[in-house]
Symmetry: C2
DNA sequence: CGTTGCTTTGATCGCGATCAACCTAGGTGG
DNA sequence: CCACCTAGGTTGATCGCGATCAAAGCAACG
C-alpha cells in the first residue's frame, strides 16, 4: 500500500473484475527495457495498458531532436487515437508487461457501453489536462521551475516524498522538459546543494523540503 | 465558400439538423471581443460551442506570464473537462456568439448516445493530438520554426494561402508559442523580407512561398 | 488632430545550449 | 577477484538565441 507503482516482476495485485469480453479477448505482450513497442506510422491495430513496468511515448523531428510526450505507469492506457496509424513512437523504459487490445474491438466496446465510454472520456480529458500543464511548463516556465514541478508530479504519482524513483534516464527527462541533459544535471545538482532534494543514487531521490520545491516551481528563484 | 471562418455578425449558415433534446435545451450567449467567458476556478456549470467568432483559452502563472493553450473557431466545443470547475480562463478574441450547454445534461446526453460519445471521443483525441504537436513545438523547435508551423496551421484551417487572417493579437501569438511579442514581430518581418509571406495589414497575410515556409518549420534556417 | 492601444525596430543582457572533458557504476572476461 | 570496458551521469567553459529594456511608428477612434 505504501509502494504504489511498485514496479517490477510482481503480478498485478488488483484482481480483475468479472471480465467483460474485451478483457478476455486481450493478450499479454512482454517487452524488454529500451525496446520499441510501436513506431510512428505503424498501423494502429493494437492499443495497450501497462500491467507492469514503465513506458514513454515520443516524437522525433527531422534533425533528430526528440520530444517525450508522456510517460505511462501501471494501469495507464496508451496507443489509442483518432488515427488508424500510430502518431508517435512508444518505447519501454523498464521491462514491461502490456495488455494489448484490438483497436477496433476496443473502440467498439467502449462506444457501446455507457460505463466504459464515460471512463474513457475521463481518461482523455485528464490526459488533455496533463498535456496542457506541460504546455504551460514548456512555454512559460524557467528550466528550474519545470524541473521542480516535474519532481513534484513524480512524487505525487509515487505517493511519497521519500525514495522517489526516476524510472527514466536524464536524457528522457530532458526530452520531456525541453532541456538538455546537461541542464537537467546542473539543476538537480544545484537542488541537492541547496538541500531541497537528496539523492543517494542517480535514479533515486528524496524531497526533504517540499515547500522550497514548490516555491521553485512557482518561479521564486531565491531561497 | 472561399471565406470559411468568415467571422462576424452573420447568422450561422448551416441549418441545424432535427434537434436532439440537448440542442434544444441550449441557450445562446453573446460576448464582446476581449470579454472573459469564464475564469479559471469558476464552477463549470456550462460548456460552449462557437457559433460565430473566435475565442481562446489560457492559463496565467503567479508572475503574470500567460500561456494560450488553444484557439477555438466556428463549430468548436470548449469548456468541458473532468473537473467540476474550469481549469483555465476563456476569453473572446472577436465578438462571439456561443451556444451554451448545461455541463451535467450535456455529459449525460453524450454518455447515453453511442453516436455522440463516439464524436466526442474523436474530438478529445484530436485535441490531445493538437496539444501534443504544440508540446513538440514548444519543447524542441526554434522560434522561427514554431512561427512557420503556426502560420501553416492557420492557413490550413482557413483553407487558403491567400488573405489568411490573424484573428488574434501579436501578444496572443507570443503567449501561444512561448515567445515574446517582439520576437513574433521580428520573425514575421524577416519572413516578409525574404518573400516567404506578404502582409498588407498586421492582421492579414498571404503565403506566396509555402514550400519555403515548410522548410522553415522543419528547421532549415537557410534559404 | 490628439489620444490610445497595438505593432515594429533597435540595443543589450542572460539563460540555457553547445562543445569538451571527466567521473562513476555496473557488467564482462581473464 | 581484479582490470578493463562502456554507458550514463556530472562538471566546466563558451556561445548564441530569444528575452528584456527602450523608443518610435501607425491605425482606429473620439
Amino acid at each position: 500500500m505504501a509502494a504504489l507503482q511498485a514496479r517490477l516482476p510482481m503480478r498485478n495485485p488488483v484482481p480483475l473484475q468479472p471480465a467483460p469480453t474485451i478483457e478476455t479477448a486481450s493478450v499479454i505482450r512482454r517487452v524488454k527495457a529500451g525496446e520499441t513497442i510501436y513506431f510512428e506510422g505503424d498501423a494502429a491495430t493494437c492499443c495497450y495498458r501497462v500491467v507492469t513496468g514503465f513506458a514513454k511515448e515520443y516524437s522525433i523531428l527531422e534533425d533528430g531532436k526528440r520530444q517525450v510526450l508522456d510517460f505511462y505507469g501501471i494501469g495507464e492506457m496508451f496507443g489509442i487515437s483518432q488515427s488508424e496509424s500510430h502518431l508517435h513512437t512508444a518505447e519501454a523504459i523498464t521491462d514491461c508487461t502490456l495488455r494489448c487490445f484490438q483497436r477496433d474491438a476496443w473502440l467498439h466496446a467502449v462506444t457501446a457501453s455507457p460505463d466504459l465510454s464515460q471512463k474513457f472520456m475521463n481518461t482523455l480529458m485528464t490526459r488533455l489536462h496533463r498535456s496542457r500543464e506541460r504546455l504551460t511548463m514548456l512555454g512559460r516556465m524557467s528550466a528550474t521551475a519545470r524541473m521542480a514541478l516535474f519532481l513534484m508530479r513524480l512524487a505525487e504519482e509515487q505517493n511519497s516524498e521519500q525514495d522517489v524513483r526516476f524510472p527514466m534516464s536524464r536524457q528522457d527527462i530532458g526530452d520531456h522538459l525541453g532541456l538538455t541533459i546537461e541542464t537537467v544535471c546542473r539543476i538537480l545538482t544545484d537542488m541537492k546543494r541547496r538541500g531541497i532534494i537528496t539523492g543517494s543514487t542517480a535514479r533515486l531521490f528524496s524531497i526533504p523540503d517540499m515547500d522550497a520545491l514548490g516555491l521553485l516551481a512557482h518561479g521564486d528563484a531565491s531561497i
